[in-house]
Every structure is written in structure tokens, then in C-alpha cells.
């Protein structure tokens, strides 16, 4: 199966600090990848480089066979990469439906009543249909996270990056979001999930990649990775 | 354009001393804006208030430098209250660095300027002290004592603050809160209290800097405008977040301004700070020493 995303020798520095170095990663189309690692290991930096929020200093990123390292974030979204944010960033002055209509307009070129119809459909899948016309500023945490995912979905991505979408949620809420992600993956979307909630990661991922201090220290099937002593050391320290 | 090596040397000397002073003026902003990320465009206005404070106390025969020190506790309190208000009104509502925060500080700066005009009029005010008026003669150039005093105090202030931020627990906490609030909370410190303290310190420093300003030159209520340029120029040139870089940046600005003043006249000199600021924003926004 083809790689939808290929990262070769990726490096990123902040002043004197090396956040990422020598990262090599190839992600298959339709894969469910879990990205784990202790705080500060570079997970968010990595996905920022993939989504375009940051420019990588070394290495290459190829999406669907084409290099995207030089492209701005909005172009990458148009090409098919979407992401949610660790701290939800709603368009606060807009309703939930209007939030979705932004990517629908700018990525899909759809507006007006057609866009609203599509927005409502996506919201229904997420279980947010009844909040469509509520101001996004008044949503609860779990509703905000669902809206983040819904908005990412409205960009009709082929690759979706979920950045700690479940942080701070209760047990049943975590399962809700997890079910949504699995459903999305079944419809063909490749998903990279960053998460600290281990049982969610284990349930979701068919492959696990562990980062530590900016480098990949383990990459393989979940059971093997979590048993790896290097991974244990990364989380617990020496 | 007038040019001669003697004049150039004098301009550079003058500029270095002035630069120390510019650095001191910008220290408070470096803390408020650089470390705490508050869009504090009212900082120079508070500086001028410090100058007028020194002027008022001068009416009772108090030396301006002493006035500066006397005013520091009051300014410290004002700074804390201002931050408290800013935080409660803007940051906790989630609209921090947006339109409203900026507009607020701009409005405050403007109100301060108008109140100063109403209270003191638009004419310039000066301070009186034994060291104002005389000059030191060194290598055939005359260096005004007032500049030496201001530069000296400025250097001392820079040293004290740099040590404070690198050696004391509170100082390091302030530096940390700008970078990682979460870690600070885990250590049991309250980020908001720390930021409030820092803002208080930044404003207190302004009191002393304002006193130095009126020692160096007469002040009028509209001077906050040019000092917005100078202070932000120094902070941006140094690199947002770098305390020690502030001194070097101040010196660069001081010398640049002084040379332009000598060669092209006063009407271009005031634009130097702003021009340098734009240049830095364009080619190297993280400054010379910044992260």
C-alpha cells in the first residue's frame, strides 16, 4: 500500500534548542497511527511541521507523493491535511455551523444553503446537530473538542491529525470521541492521533510511534512498543 | 550635512551615554512586553508621569534622582493595580493581545497625556540639581554631568535588574512565567501573582527612568510619543525577552540617533528609532539576542 505521508530526515530548531532531529516516518494510506512520547518530546512540533504551522529546518515532507515542505498551512489543508488543536480554537464570534462553513467555503468552495446542509450533516455525525446554531463561545469542553474534529472534517481531509482531542474528558466522553475517530477511519481517512490516555491510544492504533527528545525511539505494533524498555525509560526517566 | 572626526567622536560619546539611558527606559517595557506579553503602549506615558512626579517633588527642593527613588513604591503599586485590571478585564476574557487590549493601553496613554497637559500645560518643564548645567571636560570634548549621572544610574539599574532576573527566585519565576505557565503552577506559584509583581517592578523602574529623563532634558506631555518609538525599538532590537541585550540595543540606538543628529539635524534624528524599529521587524524580528 502506498504512503500517503512520507517524512524524511526531519529537523526543527528553536534558537539553540533542537526540537526534532532525524525523524523518518512513512504513513500508509488509511492507517491508524498513534503518536506517543513524554511532554516536550516533540510530538506537537512534529505535527505543526506536517500541518504547516511551522516550517521544518531540515528534511522533506511529502504528501501524496508531492513535496509540501515549502507550502503554507492553508495550501496544505486544501491538499488534504486537516488537524484539530490541543487547546480548542473555535471561531468564537460564529455559531457552530458557521465554524464549519469556513473550511467548507475555503477548501470545498461551497457556500450558502449548500454549505449549511453539509455542515449539518457533519454535525449530525459528531452528535452536535442540536448545537448547530449555538454560539461556539458557549460550548462545553467535550462539545468544543467535537466541534474541532467536525471543523477538521469539513475540510474533507485525507489525512486527519488529532492533537490530544480527548484530554480532560470523562471516560464516556473519551469513548464517544474515539468512536467518531474510528468511524472516520473506516470511511478511508488516515488518522494520526496524539494522545496521553493510554487505553484510548491502544484501542485506536494499529501502529504506534514513540518520540523522545525529538527523535523516534520506537515504531511498530502497539503491544511491542509499550513493552519496549526504551519507551518505559522515556516516560519514567532513568 | 556637517562632518568631522571630532564631531563624530563627540557624537559617539554622547550617543553611548544617551544609549545607557535609553536602555534604562526600555527595561520596564522589556519586562512588561517582552516577558509578560502585555501590549503596554502606555509604558512611555507612565515614564513621562515619572518625570513630572520628579518635577513636582523638585518644587519642594528634592533632587530629581531622590524623587525617582521616592516614587518607586507608588509606581510599583500602580503597576500592580494596572496589571490586575488588565488581567481581569482582558486576559481572563480571552481577548488579551487583541484589539481591545491594545486599544485600552492606547486610550490610557492618551488620557495620561491629556491630563498632563491639563495639569501642567504644554510647555516644557525641567528639573534643577547641582549636576545639571555643568559639563566634564575630557579629551577636549564637553560631556554634560547630567548625562553622566543618568548613564551611571542607568547602568546600575540594568545591572541590578539583570542580576535580579537571573539570580533571585522571584526573578527567575518571572522569567519562567513568560515561557511556561504550566510548569510554574506545578511548582505551587500563582502565575497571575507573579505577573502582577513583574508588572509592578516594570512600572517602578519607570519612576526612576522618568526622573532620569527630566535630568537629561526638559520634558513636555507629548514626549511619550517619541519614547514609544525609542522604547519599542530597543526592546525589538534586543530581542523580545532578552534583558542583557537591552543595554547593547540601547547603546546602538543612542549612537545611531546621535550620529544622525550631528550629520542631518534634529528633524531626522527623531525618525531614527522608528526607522530602526521597522528595519528590525522586517529583517530580524526576534532581535539581536532574542529566542
Amino acid at each position: 500500500m502506498e504512503s500517503i505521508l512520507e517524512i524524511k530526515d526531519l529537523g526543527k530548531n528553536f534558537g539553540g534548542f533542537t526540537a526534532l532531529s532525524g525523524v523518518n516516518l512513512a504513513i500508509r494510506q488509511g492507517e491508524r497511527l498513534g503518536l506517543i512520547g513524554p511532554n516536550g518530546s516533540g510530538k506537537t512540533t512534529l505535527i505543526n511541521c506536517i500541518s504547516g504551522a511551522l516550517r521544518n529546518d531540515h528534511g522533506q515532507i511529502q504528501f501524496k507523493g508531492e513535496s509540501i515542505s515549502h507550502l503554507p498551512a492553508h495550501t496544505r489543508t486544501k491538499r488534504g491535511i486537516a488537524r484539530s488543536f490541543q487547546l480548542p480554537r473555535p471561531f468564537r464570534s460564529m455559531t457552530v455551523a458557521e465554524n464549519l462553513m469556513v473550511p467548507l467555503a475555503y477548501v470545498g468552495g461551497v457556500s450558502g444553503s449548500k454549505a449549511r446542509k453539509q455542515a449539518l450533516e457533519i454535525l449530525a455525525e459528531m452528535g452536535l446537530a442540536d448545537k448547530a446554531d449555538t454560539s461556539s463561545a458557549s460550548l462545553s469542553q467535550v462539545e468544543l473538542r467535537k466541534m474541532e474534529l467536525a471543523r477538521a472534517m469539513a475540510a474533507k481531509p485525507q489525512l486527519l491529525i488529532s492533537d490530544e482531542a480527548m484530554a480532560g474528558l470523562s471516560g464516556s466522553e473519551v469513548d464517544d470521541v474515539l468512536d467518531i475517530l474510528i468511524k472516520l477511519n473506516k470511511s478511508g481517512i488516515t488518522i494520526i492521533m496524539i494522545e496521553h490516555i493510554m487505553h484510548a491510544v491502544m484501542r485506536f492504533s494499529e501502529r504506534l510511534v514513540c518520540l523522545d527528545a525529538g527523535q523516534i525511539i520506537c515504531d511498530g505494533d502497539p503491544q511491542t512498543v509499550v513493552a519496549n524498555p526504551q519507551v518505559h525509560r522515556a516516560y519514567l526517566g532513568d | 550635512m556637517i562632518f568631522s572626526f571630532d564631531l563624530l567622536f563627540e557624537a559617539v560619546m554622547f550617543g553611548l551615554l544617551l544609549g545607557c539611558f535609553y536602555a534604562a527606559v526600555s527595561l520596564g517595557l522589556s519586562v512588561a512586553f517582552g516577558l509578560l506579553d502585555v501590549p503596554h503602549v502606555a509604558h512611555p506615558a507612565l515614564l513621562i508621569v515619572g518625570s513630572y512626579g520628579a518635577y513636582l517633588l523638585g518644587g519642594w527642593g528634592i533632587d530629581p534622582l531622590v524623587s525617582g527613588f521616592l516614587l518607586m513604591p507608588l509606581f510599583f503599586l500602580v503597576g500592580m493595580l494596572l496589571y490586575r485590571f488588565y488581567y481581569a478585564t482582558f486576559e481572563s476574557r480571552g481577548t488579551a493581545a487583541g484589539v481591545n487590549g491594545l486599544a485600552f493601553f492606547f486610550g490610557v496613554a492618551f488620557i495620561i497625556e491629556v491630563l498632563l497637559i491639563v495639569a501642567f500645560g504644554v510647555d516644557q518643564r525641567s528639573a534643577e540639581a547641582s549636576y545639571i548645567g555643568d559639563s566634564l571636560e575630557l579629551f577636549e570634548i564637553r560631556i554634560p554631568y547630567r548625562l553622566l549621572v543618568a548613564a551611571g544610574v542607568a547602568l546600575l539599574l540594568t545591572l541590578v535588574l539583570t542580576l535580579f532576573f537571573s539570580r533571585t527566585f522571584v526573578g527567575r519565576a518571572i522569567k519562567a512565567v513568560g515561557q511556561d505557565e504550566g510548569a510554574l503552577q506545578l511548582m505551587g506559584a500563582n502565575p497571575v501573582s507573579i505577573k502582577q509583581l513583574a508588572f509592578g517592578i516594570a512600572t517602578a523602574v519607570n519612576a526612576l527612568a522618568g526622573a532620569m529623563l527630566i535630568i537629561v532634558s526638559p520634558v513636555d506631555p507629548t514626549m511619550d510619543r517619541i519614547y514609544i518609538g525609542r522604547a519599542f525599538c530597543v526592546v525589538v532590537l534586543a530581542g523580545v525577552g532578552s534583558m542583557s541585550g537591552t543595554l547593547v540595543a540601547g547603546l546602538i540606538l543612542g549612537v545611531a540617533e546621535s550620529i544622525v543628529l550631528t550629520m542631518f539635524g534634529a528633524s531626522w534624528a527623531t525618525a531614527v528609532a522608528f526607522g530602526l524599529l521597522l528595519l528590525m521587524l522586517g529583517i530580524r524580528p526576534h532581535g539581536l539576542f532574542g529566542r
Binding site: G52, A53, P72, A73, H74, T77, A82, R83, F85, R89, P90, F91, R92, S93, M94, V102, P103, A105, Y106, V107, S111, R151, A152, A154, A155 | P39, V41, T89, A97, G98, V99, N100, L102, A103, F104, F106, G107, V108, F110, I111, V114, I117, V118, T222, R225, I228, G229, F232, V236, S267, W268, T270, A271, F274, G275, L277, L278, L281, G282, P285
Partner: protein
Amino acid sequence: MKYWIFSALAFIAAFGLALSGVNEYIFFAGFVVMQAIVLATAWNILGGYAGYVNFGVPGFVGVGAYTALSMHLLFHAPILVQIAAGAVMAGVLGLGVGMLTLRLRGVFFSIATIAVVFIVEAVVINSRFLGGATGIQLTRPTEVWLFGSYTRMLFVVMALMAVVAVSVARYIQNSHIGQGLRAVRDSEEAADCSGVPTLKLKLIACAVSGALIGVAGAPMPMYLSYVEPASTFNLHYAVIALAMPIIGGTAHWAGPLIGALILGTLQQIVTVTISSELNVLVVGLLLVIFVVAAPDGVIGLVKKWKASSK
């Protein structure tokens, strides 16, 4: 459609007023109010819609005024050509400042706009052609079209510019661009990831906003028969351009209009009854009070009142 009918009527009313025999003073004051509407509306396109605060309004007003002056001195250009030239130069300036700073955080853009004022003013002061620090006196052209005086004609021209400015703001607000700018203002990062070309939209807003501020400044030399740096690059423009949209409401094109009318009337009352220094203080206080207590402006207050009385 309602909007166009209303605007056409408003313009016709202004036109008619200028043809009537009313006291000349009305047109001096009216010009100032129309100019305020243009300034407030122009500022809001960048400040309210995109969330980028321009403190350098006097610089853009000055560019408009001095470009118009140059067109007059060099070519004896008619007023509409002067305004067009002023708009272009100010728009280019807006674009330039944008390109320099819009990749950085919003506060750096604001600081850069302050720098613009001082630099443009320094250029003007050092230019003998533009009159330097002392300024230039002008003689107004004699043709006044159908109106009794040049002031009346300028009033009508400015009223037309007000209609143009508000129409542009309304168009942007309701368009694709407005939607994108709102997203940028609410969360630039999320907008980027939603496919919004944030830099391009911000630059458009910068250019349009700058150009319209230039439009407000361009007729100044002709209006005063005199132009000099101190009054042209006056801080007063910066404060009112911010205060009017914030008082009226920054989210909607009607906000700056409401703010301009409220503030304009209030200023006249205060200046006449109390003093002109206090007038300036009142503007500053209102700005701070609204930013703190009613950040959505009068429009926001009305919405809240309507919602709570249901």
C-alpha cells in the same frame, strides 16, 4: 437593495442641502462628520474585521493629504483625481506595512503603524516641495460645479466618499473575504488550518483600509486652503479613528457610522459648552470605558438589550 435605496437617498439629501441656502457653517461641520465616517469605516475594515489595530492613522491621512497636494501643485488636478491619487499612495503604504509585519504577531503591526507616522512626518518636514515644517498655503480653484461655494462642493464630495467607504465595508463584511477575516480575527491558526489564505486576506484588508484613510485625508489641503505637518499628522485622528468604531461596534459596517455620528455630535456639544481640551479628554475616556465595559459597542449593547427583553 434596501441599503442602496437608503444610501442614494442620503446622498441626494446631502446634495440637496448643498444646493440650498442654509448657513455655510453647516458644511464646514458636515465635512468633518463625513470625514469622520470615512475614517472610522476605513479603520474598522482592518481593526474590526481582521483584528489588527492601526495606530498610525495620522500617517495615512498625511499621505493622502500630501499626495493630493502634490497632484494639485504639479498638475492642478481636479479634486476627484487628487483623492484617487491619495487613495492609491495610502493603499500602497498600507500594503507595505502589512508585508513588513503581518507575518509577526498583531502587536508588532500596531507598533509599526506608529513608526509610520513619525517617518512620514519626518519626510514631509524635510521636503521643501511639500512645504516642510511651516506648510503651504493654497488658493482654491474657482469652479464649484453647481454649488454656491467650494466648501459646499467639498462637503458633497466627502459625502460621496462616505457612501463609497460604507459600501465597501458592507461588501467586504458580507462577502467571502469578510468570512475569512472573521476567522482570522477569531483564531488565525485555526483559520490557516481551515484553508483560509490568512496572509493574503490581511494584506487586502491593509491595502483597502489604508486607501480609504487616504481618501479621508486627501481633501484636507483644499478644505483648509492650507496644509502643514503639525495639524495633518495630529494624534487626534488616531484616537477618533479608534474610538468611533469601538463606541459604535466593530463587528458591523453600521458600527463606525453610529460611532462617528455619536462622537461627532458629542464633540460639537462639548467644544461649544465646555472647552476643546476637555473634548479631547472625553474622547479618550469614552474609548477606554467602552473597551472595558462595552467592547461590542452600541450595537452590542442594543443586541444584548433586545435579547434580554424577550
